[in-house]
Amino acid sequence: MSVSLGEWLNDESPTSRSQARFSSIYHGWIEFKANRLALLGLIILIVLVLVAAFAPLLSPHDPFEQNLANRLAPLGTDGHVFGTDSLGRDILSRLIYGSRITLYIVGLVALIAPVAGLFIGTVAGYIGGWVDIVLMRFTDIFLAFPRLVLALAFVAALGAGIENAVLAIALTAWPPYARIARAETLSIRRSDYISAVKLQGAGALRIITRHIWPLCIASLVVRITLDMAGIILAAAGLGFLGLGARPPSPEWGAMIAEGRRFILDFWWVATIPGIAIFIVSLAFNLLGDGLRDLLDPKSGGAS
């Protein structure tokens, strides 16, 4: 039996679980590839990850090296493609190193907040009764505070630093996810397929994690990607107030905050990191849209 890889992947009736899995990943990839914008988003993010990984090789200068004689150099200055900031540091190098911090913040928040929200929302929605009331009022309390103010309070209590900033942002970001997850859960918990698995003797934990979570993830992914820009900016805001990334650190938001002082005379100091944030959030949005199409059970897979 000699079958080519293409035939093996395109087989209408796979013979094993692994073949079925590879085949559905392959078809998902083909479908995803057809969405040019989502592919663009994915490429931008892959580039960002590579830049962050190889930052020391890619950056022309030390991001912390100051040169006050050459401060606020304009774009295209010899040796400084994106110019220099108020302390004469190379903006391009700072951007490249800053991508590490951005990825770190976004990655950790995206890992903590949606998972916590998903867990609280689905448990509240599925179990209902007083569990629902307690968890949702708890969520309401978090929702009632302005996000940045609450994050400020957390950082003030936990101490300044990028880890605590991440934790504070995650703690303020989960309530919308809990709301979405609960709404999704309420709409599916009475459905026949949930009843059917109950009739097989499945417990609440299995139903929530195996049957409800997969259906909530599509809408959460969309929400996460929409939140990414806000998360980067919230981290920047905390840095600006001296509660997130500390001054020498090349965090993009802190760079904008620093350049804010000379925005009229030396616009690029704030604009270049702003464009970087814009491109990365756009990439997240495009990717999120593509993923949503892919995760949607009604359109997913080849038909």
């Binding site: 209408e12 009736s13 796979p14 013979t15 679980r17 079925a20 085949s23 559905s24 459905s191 026949d192 397929y193 009843s195 059917a196 698995v197 109950k198 009739l199 097989q200 003797g201 499945a202 195996r210 049957h211 997969p214 259906l215 059970p297 009604k298 997913g300 897979g301 038909s303």
Partner: protein, 259 residues
């Protein structure tokens, strides 16, 4: 005395909500289904047919009365052993399968929940039994037709090798030609495995095909028990049943048909 291995329901009341919002869906219903028998439950929409099935499986709201099913007296909670003996097929195959689980996932999860070994072999056998074949094993529900979905749902219900199958209008969401296939499948499966059926339907022809006797329900109560012969002969004593039988004949015109 009824056979204890079948279904014996006495004075069952089922209600939803409390206080002024309370709705009594089923009121003092008693009936028995002997082991190996096949009984239909007919009546109009909202007469409480499906609620009885849901009460038996523990999915319905509050109930009182006594239920003996498969030799087990039912309490508030259903045991794992109960779900081994009693399974249900739902009305709408488009709603009863998880949209993101493949046929293989549905069946293997069911089998492992029942603590059965040798899952691969059993899945192939189950698919074969319901006439699907292994080609459908890794398909997702959106890649299946309504009839194929209902076959998967039947396979899932049969996975734990139950002795009692509760059928909640298993064919009403399907088109007519597929209905016949599913009914034949159900009737073959019953012959092979000696299953006990309790089937809800509003379609008398479907009940007539699969059942030996029929319980007629109206407004949450059982008004009559008919044998299938009486049903065919249109011999009903209760006025509601007579009306139901008359309407099942379809729209009768007095004008002779033109050709």
């Amino acid at each position: 005395m009824s056979d204890v291995q079948g279904i014996d329901i006495a004075d069952l009341n089922v209600w939803f909500g409390q206080g002024p919002e309370r709705v009594d869906a089923v009121q003092s219903v008693s009936f028995t289904v002997d082991k190996g028998a096949s009984v239909g439950l007919v009546g109009e929409s909202g007469s409480g047919k499906s609620t009885i099935l849901r009460a038996i499986t523990g999915l319905a709201g509050s109930w009182s009365g006594s239920m003996m099913v498969g030799g087990e007296k039912l309490g508030r909670k259903r045991s794992k052993a109960f779900y081994n003996k009693v399974q249900m097929v739902f009305q709408d195959p488009y709603a009863s399968l998880h949209p993101r689980h493949s046929v293989d996932q549905v069946l293997s999860e069911t089998l492992s929940l029942h603590g059965l070994k040798d899952i691969d072999r059993r899945i192939i056998k189950l698919l074969d039994d319901v006439g699907l074949g292994t080609a459908f094993r890794f398909r997702y529900p959106h890649q299946l037709s309504g009839g194929q979905r209902q076959r998967v749902a039947i396979a899932r219900a049969l996975a734990s090798e139950p002795s009692i199958l509760l059928l909640d209008e298993p064919t009403s969401a399907l088109d007519v030609s597929v209905q016949a296939e599913i009914l034949n499948l159900l009737s073959d499966l019953r012959d092979e495995r000696g299953l006990t059926y309790l089937m809800v339907s509003h379609n008398l022809a479907v009940v007539g095909h699969l059942c030996e006797s029929v319980l007629v329900m109206q407004n949450g109560q059982i008004v009559e028990l008919l044998s299938i012969e009486d049903l065919r002969a249109q011999q009903a004593s209760h006025p509601y049943t007579q009306q139901l039988l008359k309407s099942s004949l379809g729209f009768v015109r007095d004008v002779p048909r033109q050709t």
